[in-house]
Symmetry: C2
Subunit: 148 residues, 2 copies
Amino acid sequence: MSDESGLSIDKLREYLENEGIHTSYHRLKILEYLRNHRTHPTVERIHKELSREIPTLSKTTVYNTLKLFVREGIVSELTIEEKEVRYDADTKPHAHFKCIECGGVYDIALESPLFEHEMIEGHKIAECHIYLKGVCNDCSKMPKNKRS
Amino acid sequence: MSDESGLSIDKLREYLENEGIHTSYHRLKILEYLRNHRTHPTVERIHKELSREIPTLSKTTVYNTLKLFVREGIVSELTIEEKEVRYDADTKPHAHFKCIECGGVYDIALESPLFEHEMIEGHKIAECHIYLKGVCNDCSKMPKNKRS
DNA sequence: GTATCTGCAAAACATTTGCAATTCT
DNA sequence: AGAATTGCAAATGTTTTGCAGATAC
């Protein structure tokens, strides 16, 4: 849940430029946030958190930037949620688990032949999303008081 | 894509009553539509199609009814789409494929150990959704003209 | 100085809610 | 009558869009 585990801003800038994406302070901070907070945050959360550091950041910019990142393939969208889209800076194939108690979304490391398939029943596969739902480890233990 | 392949209205009524769900003409028609059109329709589509036969049907009732069916476990929600929720009367485990050309959503019969798992990394699994995206058989063949 | 990036305000949708009217038994 | 169902209209919440102002190279 803490900070400072990802690449430096300079490394991120280099990375974006290699991907052919113009850099800007806002874009770098949004990418940095995604890299450092692997909780699959919503636009709302990203905006709220970054606003404390960048008070002028608008939600529109968060939307624009995430859309750009998705288009460029460096971020992926999760639709495990019915209402809001969540974002994930990890584009390597893995599954996601959503806890129906606390609402958290966790990565699940998973070796599945599904991720390898290129063709199923005559359809060309480009993406594979695996969404699991249930009660997470933490919520199973404590009788659903704390947390949220 | 055609009609008349499902159960009769009387069978559906019996089915709903067995599930402990009060029946009504609207509810029966909505369930019938879902059973006969396995295209994972949105609320919009269900409402539009049924309105031709039942001009007084309101979208609110479609929402209410689908929500009821989901709560009672006889219909499941697909969030493969970013924008709209889709509904599926088939609650047996299977995967879904969405064509990024024509937008159609197809069932994929799939034997996956994922559907059997009850526990992964300490989390209790209640539901498993597998969403694939790519270009469907039909769209691969014809150079993306017709269809929609 | 021209491209791009940003952000406000308004618009566009999907979905939910409150409540009154209707229907069913 | 009494309980459940229905549907309108308004509210909500997320995402998109148009456009003007700011910023960067």
